[in-house]
Symmetry: C2
Subunit: 382 residues, 2 copies
């Protein structure tokens, strides 16, 4: 058995006295106003470095290479930045579009896809070089891009109400394309369930949601929750909830209501509503703790200083926490024992124990928004 | 924002020409006969180094620290070895008992527990120093040790038919202990479901299985599948199936039958049998591909040269593969695109694409058995 090449051995060998950082402990925090990101460690509850010059990071999202070495940051200005977490430098950066809304990495780690408002459609890049591999115009703004197992991506078109399934397994440059019509008026967001099976689309232009079972022999869009959507004209919608917030807890989905101070429980088997929980404000994210026993919810303004915790067995609110103004995002440590909360308006991240709910750490950050730990490298449907 | 300390920077900074290895790409392969382990990379499909001197590694298992830096190897001879994956050295090793059967790490990463045949009971160690923190004799051999969220462990007692829940959250050295009586005669293995909620115990001395819902206000052992177990005296049981092989696929468990050439499908909600699939031999592991669309099964002698793939929608065998003699274990890459198969009697690991089923790589190993990738650092109930 050959030993490691010397160079690699040097990289891995640590003087006894030295600190060793592993990709397994890392994460990336978006500093949207500053156009920078922090590289953080969730095991040390600390920030390690700041990387600047990433452009407009409002609504930015992050995915990771399968070995956790690289973070791909998708900026609102169409910038796609590849960060090397081991050197804490920008490995590569391209402006791939004029106005982008998110991205995904294929399950083989070879392709990175970006969905665009301007010029619309989806562009697919080589994950190593960021060279353009495929350009798929769809004559529409695109939203809700996610990876589907088997070197595939799926995305929805805002203007034409379609979903496009792109299969790059045979020829990365020429994906096999399946277009699903009549997904609904103006899809605004979507997600793929954690098993990569079901694509769920939120609609802005009409009520209800659409699901597509990608395991079916002949997948078809199916409308469900026909009453779901904004249904109280006197109550403005401050922020459309993130469908990424959808989480399967036991046999139910916990779904943030639109424009209501409620969490909706949806039976996963029948896709029918099974209950509601009254909340402190309009929910934005409703995230299951990794053990799925609790749902953590943050809120739209003016209630975005608060986080509530709901028991998935009783559907009751068991905690109302007030980390501070501008709680924009929450990320659990991989096994769910701790949670990181972005407190934008106080320029800090608050870390709490998810069993005692006590504050156990804090990290300085400039107007932090999204928090992304490297365990996402292993998840499907992101 | 302070930069990294120099030493750490050195560790993370790579000359452009050098190879960089990350903990995110690594795994550990047990070489049981040689008493050694290989450190491997699943993204490179390669072995990086061999570490020797780990003693008797038959039935050995591995868990990882939350940052993926350390692998804890639990040997059959009571040896507990802590391997530093970044230096590829043995960081620490203790002989904690005379005859051990497995271990687990707490969800806070602070405690490592080992279950023993001899002297019996469970010993709990400091994950950093491997110093003994708690010794819990149970007057019995113990099996089926797993972590439960909240700094807890659960284990079953072979001789007395109990399950012990150990809660180390308040005082690591003095766990709060809950004993469940009448779990059944001679538990031989057990598992905690991926959400950390349900403890399922396999029984050697009688038919049926036992489930304990750890989310219940007053958890109680519940017997189910009353006919499950060896029920054909003319068909010897070559190997008891591994309950770790239990996997929830959709709304069903796929369960290896005992002494039968069958896979049992069990409705997860009712814990009743919902169907059977005839197999090539006596199943040992039945593992769901991470997207849960397929179950991969290996077999006891004399059929252990074969692997079968079952569709979780149709319950039909869709592939019968013959990697070679002595397929002891299977491990999927984190997003399930590839699978590693130990082919013990040919001293190699075979790597296959899980979409095309084709062989895409091979790694030399000395009589390999268990394969453990570092994504396990993030999983509950291991």
């Amino acid at each position: 058995m050959r030993a490691l090449p010397l160079a690699a051995a040097l990289l891995l060998a640590a003087p006894v006295s030295a600190e060793v950082y592993t990709t397994g402990e890392l994460g990336v925090v978006i500093e949207r106003a500053a156009g920078s990101v922090l590289i953080v460690s969730h095991t040390r509850r600390a920030a390690l470095a700041r990387i600047e010059g990433l452009g407009d990071l409002s609504h930015a999202s992050v995915t990771f290479s399968p070995d956790q070495r690289f973070a791909y940051v998708f900026g609102r200005d169409g910038g796609l930045t590849k960060i090397d977490l081991t050197t804490q430098t920008i490995a590569n950066r391209v402006i791939q579009g004029g106005n982008a809304i998110g991205g995904a990495i294929s399950d083989d780690g070879r392709l990175v896809a970006v969905s665009n408002y301007e010029p619309g459609g989806v562009k697919v890049f080589d994950a190593d070089t960021l060279e353009l591999v495929a350009d798929i115009p769809m004559e529409s703004k695109t939203v809700g891009l996610a990876d589907v197992p088997g070197s595939r991506f799926i995305v929805s078109t805002w203007d034409s109400g379609q979903a496009w399934l792109l299969d790059h397994s045979a020829d990365p440059a020429n994906p096999e394309i399946t277009v699903f019509e009549n997904v609904g008026a103006n899809p605004y967001d979507a997600l793929v369930t954690g098993d990569g099976r079901t694509y769920i689309v939120g609609l802005f232009g009409e009520k209800g949601l659409t699901a597509i079972d990608l395991w079916a022999d002949d997948p078809q869009p199916v409308r469900f929750l026909p009453d779901y959507g904004k249904d109280e004209p006197d109550l403005p919608v401050y922020k459309m909830p993130h469908l990424q917030g959808w989480t399967l807890a036991g046999d139910s989905f916990a779904l943030p209501a639109v424009g209501l101070h409620q969490l909706l429980w949806v039976d996963a088997a029948t896709l029918t509503e099974s209950g509601r929980t009254d909340l402190h404000g309009q929910p934005v994210f409703a995230l299951a703790r990794p053990d799925q026993r609790e749902i953590w919810v943050n809120f739209a303004p003016p209630d975005n200083d608060t986080v509530q915790v709901i028991d998935t067995m009783t559907h009751e609110v068991i905690q109302t926490l007030t980390p501070g103004p501008g709680v924009l995002h929450m990320e659990f440590t991989p096994r769910g024992r701790e949670v990181w909360l972005s407190v934008r308006d106080e320029n800090r991240i608050e870390i709490r124990d998810t069993r005692t709910y006590e504050v156990i750490g804090e990290v300085e950050a400039q107007a932090p928004s999204g928090i992304f730990f490297t365990d996402r490298a292993y998840r499907l449907g992101l």
